[in-house]
């Protein structure tokens, strides 16, 4: 589904502090599978995730999404692909404070201009699915860490993306909540979603729900 060829990514290119976060990555990510990028801090996991998710462009190399080369597309088109194809769950959840859970969930769909009733119905359905129906009108800063993550997952799913991307999803959760997250992962896989995670949490990496683990170190694939 997603194919990366010769991906390299530099930060501060041409300056004294030039740094190559990725040094030639070639991988193919299968559809409807759960793939984990594993590696120590600074190995390039998050950078690779941003390139796959169209949040940034590679300095060199090609990204193909369903056989279409998207690495050279202008920002507007990348945004459109990002919105339609990918759903993101960030490490810090990145919810908009001051807004209710349901409003946060609906946010990614605003630029699509769906009828309000339909959008709200979809958001309520997702919150109910993630056992958050009773918290839908609570402001997100009043929710617990686990609840916040479930709001972030609901938000990632609102545009019905084919791919869900999660960056260190269990980094801020205790063991019980991490297991709960793995349950959600299972559900997503059953729904036919392609899931790509970064993690160095053994609980996630060794979970049965994970189909494939890709090891990274110093911007290269090691296994």
């Amino acid at each position: 589904m997603i194919e990366l060829t010769g991906i390299r990514k530099a930060f501060n290119q041409g300056r004294e502090n030039e740094y190559w976060a990725l040094n030639g990555i070639d991988i193919a990510i299968d559809a409807e599978k759960v793939t984990v990028l594993r590696g120590p801090s600074g190995s390039g996991k998050t950078t690779l995730l941003t390139i796959v998710g169209c949040l940034s462009r590679p300095t060199a190399g090609r990204v193909r999404l369903k056989d279409q080369d998207i690495s050279g597309l202008p920002e507007r088109f990348l945004t459109e692909i990002r919105r339609q194809t990918f759903g993101f769950v960030f490490q810090q959840f990145n919810l908009v404070r001051g807004l209710a859970a349901i409003d946060n969930v609906m946010l990614p769909a605003y630029p699509c201009g769906l009828p309000h009733g339909e959008l709200r119905g979809r958001a309520e359905e997702l919150l109910a699915m993630l056992r958050l129906g009773h918290r839908r009108d609570s402001r997100v800063e009043w929710l617990s860490g686990g609840e916040q993550q479930r709001v972030a997952i609901a938000r990632a799913l609102i545009n019905r993306p084919q791919v869900v991307i999660a960056d260190e999803p269990t980094a801020n959760l205790d063991t019980a909540l991490s297991r709960e997250f793995l349950g959600i992962l299972e559900m997503l896989r059953e729904q036919g979603k392609t899931v790509l995670l970064t993690s160095h949490d053994p609980l996630v990496v060794e979970a049965s729900v994970v189909d494939r683990v890709i090891g990274l170190r110093d911007g290269r694939i090691i296994d």
Partner: protein, 378 residues
């Protein structure tokens, strides 16, 4: 189309929610902004209305008024001047006017005594302006006594109080008969305060004035258009003074608005990053933030302008009265006829709403074009 409309609605909904989330900051800004618009609009509305009022009043005034000068001072005009002026070509009608000032020590105010052209009161009777009626607490049927400059006491019966709509000119006016006027001020029968002339052709007014000055070297013709120009400059000057006084407030607001609008808080930058990461386009973010600035400035403009309108036309410009009206001792209680100058509204709008909205756009644009992956690393 429906999707586009729905999208705009979502953007506006989000903008309003965003404004409410930062209630303190936005409300403070709105209050200061509204106050500034209120002050500026009040000065502009008042000056415009009062200038218009003055122009309308003078429309009915004679084209030329002739005074006689003696030793550089305004003196009484002999009656035979009327005949001499009547012979000048272009003069349609001429009339001797009788008016003068009187200081009333009872209420410490100056009145204008005048013999009207038509419907002069009978001897022993007067009509008075609202200002005098208020100051002396007099109404129709009451007797008012004035001590003339010769020391003689005159007791005059009030026939009527002049209508309130003419108060801008009649607040301090006492209309009386010619005989009472002459007796009160001790003016001989064949002398007048000045002479008014009607000139049919507006193009001849200056020529007529020149002929008068040539034939009667001690006469001083005053043209209506000159009086109008004087009014204009007096009100413009006063408006200028108030605006200069307001300049400090405007500057303070400019600094506040710039600080509020131009600097995005870390929270706002984070929010922009999140929106971009979850699929909002740069243009959506800019639009949303633009609406935020535009809503505040438009609301402030409308509230401030409406408050100024009420202040000037409903509450008689209570705050500006001492500076802008400055009439005489008896302030006229006049309600200005509501009038709005489109160009003035546009000018005020352009110098307040426009710069603020632009000031909000630049930093947002800068924040909105940053790569959306920044949020992954926050």
């Amino acid at each position: 189309m429906a999707a586009w409309v729905a999208k705009q609605r979502y953007l506006i909904d989000y903008t309003v929610a965003s404004l409410l989330r930062r209630k303190g900051k936005n409300l403070g800004l709105l209050v200061v902004y509204t106050l500034l618009i209120f002050m500026l609009a009040s000065v502009m509305l008042f000056s415009h209305a009062v200038r218009r009022e003055a122009a309308q009043l003078l429309e009915g005034a004679p084209e030329v008024v002739v005074q006689r000068m003696v030793a550089g001072r305004h003196d009484l005009v002999p009656g035979d001047y009327l005949e001499k002026m009547g012979r000048i070509r272009g003069v349609q009608a001429q009339r001797g006017r009788l008016w003068g000032y009187y200081y009333d020590p009872v209420v410490f105010a100056n009145y204008t005594f005048m013999v009207p052209v038509a419907e002069a009161p009978q001897a022993g009777h007067i009509a008075i302006g609202e200002g005098i009626a208020r100051a002396r607490r007099a109404g129709p049927g009451d007797v008012i006594s004035f001590r003339s400059y010769s020391g003689r006491l005159f007791e005059l019966t009030v026939d009527k109080v002049l209508p309130a709509e003419s108060e801008i000119v009649s607040a301090d006016l006492v209309l009386l008969s010619e005989s009472d006027f002459r007796a009160f001020f001790g003016i001989a029968p064949n002398l007048y305060t000045d002479i008014s002339l009607r000139v049919a052709n507006p193009k001849e007014v200056r020529k007529v004035a020149q002929k008068i000055a040539d034939e009667l070297p001690d006469a001083r013709p005053i043209l209506r258009e000159e009086i109008l120009r004087t009014y204009e400059s007096i009100f413009s000057w006063r408006e200028g003074i108030v605006l200069v006084l307001l300049a400090g407030a405007i500057l303070a607001f400019a600094i506040l608005a710039w600080e509020k609008a131009a600097g995005l808080s870390a929270e706002e930058k984070r929010e922009i990053g999140i929106l971009k990461a979850i699929g909002w386009e740069t243009s959506d973010v800019i639009k949303m933030k633009f609406w935020e600035g535009a809503l505040i400035s438009l609301a402030a403009f409308l509230l401030g302008y409406a408050a100024a309108y009420l202040h000037i036309f409903r509450f008689s410009a209570a705050f500006l009265e001492p500076v802008l009206k400055g009439w005489s001792v008896l302030y006229p209680h006049f309600d200005l006829a509501p009038s709005i100058d489109g160009l003035q509204v546009a000018t005020l709008f352009f110098f307040t709403v426009f710069p603020y909205t632009v000031a909000t756009i630049v930093p947002i644009w800068r924040a909105a074009i940053t790569d959306p992956d920044a949020v992954m690393r926050a």
